[in-house]
């Protein structure tokens, strides 16, 4: 894939040369898809924001390693997945530890002190309420690789091949993960999916 064909790769070439505007353009383009995946992987808005910022920081720092032949979104979501996995492993090792607890070296950072978190309410308080929370819960209960496969499947810019690259498995294994994840979701959400509404007893 040449840089002329992939505008993201062209931007990354500029980022490699230290162009902050090109980097800001990439951040603006991908911040929403990245946040969507990260939030549904971690289910914590504050941690999702921190991790999403860290994703883009890694993109900037690793720009010199980016191969123009690689599709940028595939490379980006590989970083997303790796950082999410690290965070999930960290949580499993230190269940009580949270990124909400400020690190001593971060306490003097103005943006950490004064950022208004009220503007970033959790998605389950928006639009769909309980329904969305149930879908999120069902997604969260899936094994990590099935959940990641399903979340990446929602990204228009990623093909099945790209998702397979991010997950580091074959195309057929990727489709199998998506299939199994969807089967589980269908079982869990069957009542809603059939009636179009959650039963009152739920």
């Amino acid at each position: 894939m040449s840089a002329e064909l992939d505008p993201d790769a062209a931007l990354m070439i500029r980022v490699k040369e230290g162009d902050r505007e090109a980097f800001a353009e990439l951040v603006n383009k991908y911040k929403q898809p990245v946040m969507n995946v990260v939030y549904r992987m971690l289910r914590d808005m504050t941690e999702a924001e921190d991790l999403a910022q860290n994703v883009f920081l890694q993109v900037y720092k690793s720009a010199h390693r980016y191969e123009v032949s690689a599709k940028f979104s595939t490379w980006l979501f590989t970083i997303v997945r790796n950082l999410c996995l690290n965070e999930i492993r960290r949580r499993s090792r230190h269940p009580a530890d949270s990124l909400d607890i400020p690190h001593p070296e971060q306490e003097d950072q103005p943006w950490q002190q004064f950022e208004d978190k009220r503007t970033a309410s959790a998605p389950n308080t928006l639009l769909h309420g309980e329904l969305e929370e149930k879908v999120d819960e069902a997604l969260a209960d899936l094994p990590e690789n099935q959940r990641t496969a399903l979340l990446l499947c929602r990204q228009d810019e990623l093909s099945y091949d790209d998702i397979a690259k991010v997950l580091g498995c074959s195309l057929s294994a990727t489709k199998s993960l998506i299939h199994r994840g969807r089967e589980t979701l269908k079982q869990k959400l069957k009542l809603y999916l059939r009636t179009g509404a959650w039963p009152e007893s739920k």
Binding site: E115, H128, C153
Partner: protein
């Protein structure tokens, strides 16, 4: 995975996008041939719509600015780290050389110790031992030792005869 490859293929397409009219026609034909798949298909469509309706996670309006700020701060820290690293690297740069020189000196000392001229006293002591050895009778001189010793073992002086002679 489903037992019907054609249905499975259409299903996989429907996970990513809406089916085209020709694909929908193929699906209708497939469902007509396999009516047991109808319920599954309806659930699949409902699930796809539900997943598509999931709202986006809210992104702070200043997200990009925060990222750029983090990059800037990290860059500054990186420069500091680089300076510190270079400073620290100054030590490893000369330390191996000093260590190597130390090894060379130690090896030289050991070699010198092995081949150096011995002190005079030590040489004199050695000569003394050699001189003592050289003062001993040669093995040639000792070859008749037993005969001579046997001669010594002859009867003692005949004192009576000696007295008469005197």
């Amino acid at each position: 995975m489903h037992q019907h490859p054609h249905y499975q293929r259409l299903l996989e397409l429907s996970w990513r996008r809406k089916l085209t009219s020709s694909e929908e026609a193929a699906l209708r034909a497939c469902l007509a041939a396999h009516p047991e798949l109808q319920a599954d298909w309806e659930l699949e469509i409902a699930l796809s719509e539900t997943l598509a309706r999931l709202s986006d996670a809210p992104v702070p309006s200043n997200f990009t600015a925060l990222v750029l700020q983090t990059v800037e701060r990290d860059g500054a820290q990186g420069r500091t780290r680089t300076w510190r690293w270079r400073f620290l690297q100054g030590k490893p740069a000369w330390l191996p050389r000093v260590a190597f020189a130390g090894v060379l000196v130690a090896a030289g000392l050991l070699s010198y110790n092995a081949i150096r001229p011995r002190p005079v006293e030590q040489v004199a002591g050695g000569l003394r031992v050699v001189a003592d050895v050289s003062s001993l009778p040669s093995p040639e001189a000792l070859k008749d030792f037993d005969t001579i010793r046997a001669l010594n073992a002859s009867p003692g002086v005949d004192q009576e005869l000696l007295a008469l002679l005197q």
